[in-house]
């Protein structure tokens, strides 16, 4: 190589290196930024978490929570350790609360319909416009003299929001506040009221019970107040206080609670009430009953001899006597009637039968039994309105009575059978407002969509139901400033009232927060137990905000004894065994629907954490499945993962088969929760909604939708892509889960 060439290379190399160096300098991406507060918030230290006490709004249990907030963003939800309902614990659904707030599919601002109903074609509007539209429509309706045509559909309201809504409706001139929830326990309220005169749900003292006889109550997973009852279950299992409590579960399909039970009694679907009455019969017959009027009971129970019931229920006579003996001789004992018995067309009867059992064993009002709750501190106008139910709403709509429909935080199109025709009711109503955070199956039919604050952004309060034997009031306070352009429901109603004026001018509060505080002030001044806890209201309010609400320090309350009389009960025992839609020759299987442990009635299906949470009993994720006994499946030639068509007289869905040994061979079970057609990217077009194939059958007394009153047939429908997390569920003697005898001796 020549010298000149060498120099050339050196030159080019140096030039290239320098160019690269300079370009590296110039083209550097901008560095990270430090964004200070303009005005500091005294409560916020960047990098240090704040905890706000609030209320979990994802189910009706009413657990107290702590929201962990850092730099204005919610990071985690934890149970409030002081709260009497959940004692610092929290279920999977509650944990997923931040995913509601930060859900990518949340509606970001008020929307007005542009295209046809159901197409989801909306335009953005401002809140002022939205409030104006509502006010104008409501004024027009009021002017035309049909103020009663305003219908409001919400989940059961227990706090001051319900009070506000009711005063709004009353002032406006409507009485149509429909409170609907699929698992709203209407039958339970009715049965307890009819049998014991209780307006509220009682407290089932599982914690202190030593023998729990549960009729299809999945109380550690979905029923009523699962976290509270799970905590109680945990305590019950401890041998500390007079021995370990036993749990006996009566249900055709093993639920999560059933899986933990000591005994599983797979009674034939529809005959659980007969079994309960047969046990009661045995109790009376053997003279184990407590209380008087034995003749009256003998008369009521005459038709339910264990020997007769054994044939009907598929539970042997000896077993009925054994359960009756254990139930009356283990003290304290407790019978619980859950969704399993109440989900028939005549669900009240089953719950009545359970009430009889508790009465005969002397459990009502006793520690470890059924404890009546005191009156909640927030006085509600009505407990559960049995007159206003889905069928009456549909009937009113058919008569053209519905002029305007406001739906708040509820998705009835998804949670009612197609046969109930709610979709057409909402589609045909002249003016529909949806107050919802998500574009769900119901909101898609609305003329106006008002995005709601989530529970982490809003004010509110709640008196949990069931209570815990004491009075509990929970405050919900905003942990973060609203992430989107949303509003709280209370503020919307107050805003409309302000704009309409006139007859609504009585609702004067500037904001719902103010309304709430005023309501608490009133309660504080009237309620001696409340005012005893602090000197001034401001102190009381500060303390309540800090603690998460108010509840008396002493948890012991005077317990009312309640009795069940034979006469009051006998009127409500009818129709046994339960009726089923579909002939058993054409439709050989009983269909059981139950709430998915995380999605419940479908509300959790848009949260990715919950979609990916394996179902505790099947480990299936991201979809629906149908549980079939392996023997039945073998008979039908179905393998696990095969798609099966499930057909009832009223409809048909397809779902993959999961071979489930914990189900009766004559029963199939499908979880509710999936099968959304709307409701965001994680939920939509995933799995099937089994409610679709139900007939619209209600309990005549309460209007509760009967989920288990259908027979179905099953046929193979090709392969599926069911995703489950489990490899094998056989332990193969590897001693993974070891057991010990009850007395605590270590076992070899």
């Amino acid at each position: 190589m020549k010298r000149r060439d060498f120099l050339k290379f050196i030159g080019v190399g140096a030039a290239g290196g320098a160019a690269g160096f300079i370009i590296g300098k110039v083209s550097k991406p901008p560095g990270a930024k430090l964004i200070p507060y303009v005005v500091p918030d005294e409560n916020i230290i960047p990098g240090v978490a704040n905890y706000y006490s609030s209320l979990c709004t994802l189910c009706s249990a009413g657990c107290g929570i702590h929201a962990r907030v850092m730099e204005g963003r919610v990071k985690k939800i934890e149970g409030n350790p002081l709260h009497p309902v959940n004692k610092g614990r929290l279920c999977a659904l509650g944990q997923a609360m931040p995913q509601v707030t930060y859900n990518p599919d949340r509606i970001k601002g008020p929307l007005k319909r542009r295209g046809a109903k159901g197409t989801g074609d909306y335009v953005d509007i401002t809140w002022e416009e939205a409030i104006t539209i509502i006010s104008k429509n409501l004024s027009d309706i009021a002017k035309s003299g049909s103020a009663d045509g305003l219908y409001l559909l919400t989940p059961p309201q227990r706090g001051n929001l319900g009070a506000l809504i009711d005063s709004f409706l009353t002032a406006y001139g409507s009485s149509n506040h429909y409170q609907y929830e699929l698992f709203g326990q209407r039958n339970l309220y009715f049965a307890n009221h009819a049998a014991m005169g209780l307006a509220n749900a009682p407290h089932y003292d599982i914690e202190n019970a030593k023998y729990v006889l549960s009729f299809g109550a999945d109380f550690t997973s979905t029923w009523m107040s699962p976290v509270h009852y799970s905590a109680a279950y945990g305590e019950m299992r401890q041998a500390g206080k007079g021995g370990r409590g036993a749990l006996v579960q009566v249900e055709p399909r093993l639920s999560l609670t059933g899986a933990n039970a000591d005994e599983w009694v797979p009674a034939k679907p529809g005959t659980e009430a007969i079994l309960a009455l047969a046990i009661a019969h045995a109790v009376v017959e053997k003279g184990w009953a407590k209380g008087g009027d034995l003749d009256g009971w003998r008369h009521v129970l005459a038709g339910y001899k264990p020997s007769v019931a054994a044939d009907l229920t598929d539970v042997s006579e000896e077993r009925i006597y054994a359960i009756a003996r254990a139930f009356t001789h283990t003290r304290p004992s407790l019978a619980i009637g859950g969704d399993g018995v109440s989900s028939y067309q005549d669900g009240v009867s089953g719950l009545m039968a359970v009430n009889i059992l508790n009465h005969l064993a002397g459990n009502n009002g006793a520690t470890g039994g059924v404890i009546p709750n005191p009156e909640p501190a927030i006085k509600r106008d009505s407990a559960v309105d049995f007159k206003r139910r889905i069928s009456t709403l549909a009937a009113d709509a058919a008569k053209g009575k519905v002029k305007a429909l406001i739906i708040y935080n509820s998705n009835p199109v998804f949670t009612t059978p197609v046969a109930a025709k709610l979709a057409s009711v909402i589609r045909d109503a002249p003016f529909v407002v949806s107050m919802s955070s998500f574009l769900d199956e119901t909101a898609v039919y609305a003329d106006l969509i008002l995005p709601m604050h989530t529970g982490l952004e809003d004010w509110g309060d709640d008196a949990p139901e069931p209570g815990v034997g004491t009075r509990v009031m929970t405050i919900m306070q905003p942990a973060i400033t609203p992430y989107y352009n949303s509003k709280g429901a209370g503020d919307v109603f107050l805003g409309v009232a302000k704009q309409m004026g006139g007859r609504l001018s009585g609702l004067k509060a500037n904001s719902f927060a103010e309304y709430l505080k005023d309501a608490w002030r009133t309660a504080y001044s009237k309620d001696r137990q409340m005012s005893a806890s602090a000197l001034t209201f401001d102190e009381f309010w500060e303390g309540a905000l800090k603690r998460g609400g108010w509840w008396p320090k002493a948890t012991v309350e005077a317990r009312r004894q309640v009795t069940v009389s034979a006469r009051s009960v006998s009127a409500h025992l009818a129709q046994m065994p339960a009726r089923f839609e579909g002939k058993d020759t054409d439709y050989p299987f009983y269909l059981m629907l139950y709430p998915h442990s995380a999605h419940r009635d479908g509300r959790g299906a848009n949260l990715p954490w919950l979609q990916e949470l394996p179902d505790p009993m099947t480990s299936v994720v991201w979809g629906t499945w149908v549980e079939v006994n392996p023997k039945t499946a073998a008979r039908l030639g179905l393998k696990e993962g095969d798609m099966a068509a499930i057909e009832s007289p009223s409809g048909k869905i397809t779902a993959p088969v999961y071979l489930y040994p914990g189900i009766r061979p004559d029963t199939v079970a499908v979880p509710i929760g999936q099968g959304h057609t709307q409701y965001g990217r994680y939920a939509a077009r995933r799995g099937a909604n089994p409610i679709e194939m139900l007939p619209h059958s209600e309990d005549a007394r309460t209007g509760a939708i009967a989920l288990n009153s259908t027979r179905v047939k099953l046929s193979g429908a090709g392969p599926s892509n069911m995703v489950k997390m489990e490899g094998s569920t056989k332990e193969l003697g590897r001693e993974i889960i070891q057991t010990a005898p009850p007395d605590g001796r270590s076992e070899s």
């Binding site: 020549k2 060439d5 290379f9 560095g31 430090l34 507060y37 500091p40 960047p46």
Partner: protein, 174 residues
Amino acid sequence: MNSLSLIKQLIALVIVGGAAFLIGYGVNITYFYDRTPEQPIEFSHKIHAGDNKIPCKYCHLYVERSRVAGVPNVQRCMGCHKIIKTDSPLIQKLTSYWDKKEPIPWVKVHNLPDYVHFTHKRHIKAGLDCSLCHGDVASMSRITRVASLKMGWCLSCHEKREVKNGKDCWTCHK
């Protein structure tokens, strides 16, 4: 040896030049990163901390309580500058942020990767002086980074000061 043909020579030159370019680029972004980035307002630590002897903790509020020291909020700046030197163009820039109620987008000079757990609180409570890591800020008219903030730099100090568990990975990693 013969001189290379023109085309071969060109190709070789392109290769050499390209390689040198890449090396130059790499050397720059690895070793000659910008330690003194330009800030939205030419704030001078020299005037504040040096000449006027304002203590660090007066503005960096959270340094004893949090893992971050905290940049002063705009209100704190305005607390003095409503009165002091209001005619200076830089202060007018500050005031315009305040009037618009906008935060000032300061550029981060001391940045650590996400997988590093560092807390100012612990270091301040151990009695370390700010200048140990941040240099003589009081003499900087534009803030510049003096420490490498690399793992070896952290370790050498932990080693020298015999920090308890100071060389354990999870003391600083997360």
